[in-house]
């Protein structure tokens, strides 16, 4: 996970605490769940998809805290609870979409995530609006995070994954198909 995300979140948390906001305990609990999961609970090669979903939801909660009304986020899921997945792979795409799609947008950004599974197959798609600044697109396609994920996928899902990164004038989208090992 990007350390700047962590420091920015702590900065927001500090503000909420000073404000004596009712959100403070919730944010602390969400953040500690994320840290607990990343540090201790995802050391296995494959983890339950449920836990990954929880992580994604927690992460979205904190990003929404940062960007407020600037980010319009949807997350649709219909998955088989028993299925397993390599940890933190999906999060990289989500982090990337927030960083470039929302973080670089002055006006409202849209971000749609969907996750479904059928038998041994997992289908993940994420689509975000492209900000009006020209440099944003280059950043997304050549990001180090994405390059690393590609390598990871080669190792963990050899010949059993399909990654499609695509963009139109307005949208950037990623589609990932995985067949559980």
């Amino acid at each position: 996970m990007n350390p700047h995300f962590l420091f920015n979140t702590l900065n927001n948390l500090y503000t909420l605490a000073l404000q004596k906001s009712e959100k403070t305990p919730e944010v602390i609990s969400v953040l500690s769940d994320i840290l607990d999961y990343m540090l201790y609970r995802c050391n296995e090669k494959y983890v339950s998809l449920d836990k990954e979903i929880e992580l994604i939801e927690n992460y979205i909660t904190l990003e929404k805290l940062r960007y407020g009304k600037r980010a319009k986020v949807s997350f649709h899921k219909s998955v088989n609870e028993m299925i397993k997945i390599a940890p933190l792979i999906l999060l990289t795409f989500i982090e990337n979409a927030f960083k470039h799609g929302v973080g670089q947008e002055i006006n409202e950004a849209e971000l749609n995530i969907s996750l479904s599974s059928e038998a041994k197959n997992i289908l993940f798609t994420i689509r975000n609006t492209i900000p009006n600044s020209s440099s944003a697109l280059e950043n997304t396609t050549s990001s180090i995070g994405i390059l690393n994920v590609k390598k990871q996928l080669e190792l963990l899902y050899p010949n059993s994954h399909e990654l499609k990164i695509d963009h139109t004038e307005r949208h950037y989208s990623v589609q990932l198909n995985l067949t559980a090992q």
Binding site: H4, F7, Y14, T15, L18, P131
Partner: protein
């Protein structure tokens, strides 16, 4: 002295934090809080800003790039989650570089740093002695690395040239780095601010009208502010009359009266012109 501040950060809560920290410190006034460099640019065009709290990683225009391209750069304190931009901040002569999360203790240190830099600048440009007005008849001003003695009675008038003032004497001028408002505070009560850019020595005025005052055949305009016009003509008239008749007691009483009204006029003049200065 109140320092006028501007916050620039694309995250709501991050702006809120600086706003809260600032509220704890008396001498700092928050002029505006902006979500982007574009918004900030508009504020900087119309308001006088002494200190920026500037985030770096923002949409479209980075804080550092924004600051680099400002023609009139206020003092800046960077506020960021990125440790790696510190060197850029250093290159841009930032007062401080605050890493998120920004605690009040650390924030306060940055404020102290800013204030200490301000006083150093002031002592460099201030006349080294600041006598109470009207008790001494001279002051020292710093010019070309020397302290120059200036007899107040020898001053005809003072003209403001942006960051500098030009002090006109009968046979020469001194140009020194000083704001006209601050310099005025050092002078005796017979010095009257007749215009945003002019202070005159009332003892040297040879003629005056609604349009201006005359000193040694030089015409000095009177400020356009209505309140200024109304009181000034009235007050200067009685002031000069009392001087003319050499009635020291009346003159002294008049001087006190004039100076108290002039202070009011000056403060209204300053607030009047600050809107149009930048």
């Amino acid at each position: 002295m109140t320092w006028r501040c501007l916050i620039i950060d694309d995250e709501d809560l991050a702006r809120e934090l600086i706003k809260r920290h600032l509220r704890e410190i008396e001498e700092f006034e928050l002029v505006a809080s902006c979500a982007s460099a574009f918004e900030a640019r508009k504020i900087l065009q119309t308001e006088k800003i002494d200190l920026l709290f500037l985030d770096i990683e923002m949409p479209v225009l980075k804080g550092t790039d924004f600051f680099k391209n400002l023609i009139h750069q206020p003092k800046v304190i960077f506020t960021t989650a990125y440790r790696e931009y510190a060197i850029d901040g250093f290159d841009l002569n930032a007062v401080d570089y605050l890493l998120k999360p920004i605690t009040f203790v650390r924030f306060f240190k940055a404020i102290e740093k800013f204030l200490s830099q301000q006083t150093t600048i002031q002592t460099e440009t201030l006349p080294s002695t600041t006598p109470p007005p009207s008790k001494e008849n001279f002051i020292f001003i710093r010019k070309d690395r020397k302290q120059v003695k200036l007899i107040l009675d020898s001053i005809l008038y003072i003209e403001s040239l942006k960051d500098y003032i030009k002090i006109h004497l009968a046979n020469k001028t001194h140009t020194v780095k000083y704001s006209i408002t601050a310099f005025h505070a050092l002078l005796a009560q017979n010095f009257i601010r007749v215009h945003r850019s002019y202070i005159v020595n009332a003892d040297r005025v040879s003629a005056f009208s609604k349009q201006g005052v005359e000193i040694e055949d030089i015409n000095i305009p009177i400020g356009a502010s209505a309140v200024f016009q109304k009181y000034l003509i009235l007050l200067m008239a009685s002031f000069f009359t009392s001087l003319h008749h050499r009635k020291p007691l009346v003159a002294t009483a008049m001087i006190d009266f004039v100076s108290s009204i002039c202070k009011k006029i000056n403060s209204s003049l300053i607030s009047d012109t600050s809107e149009t200065q930048h």
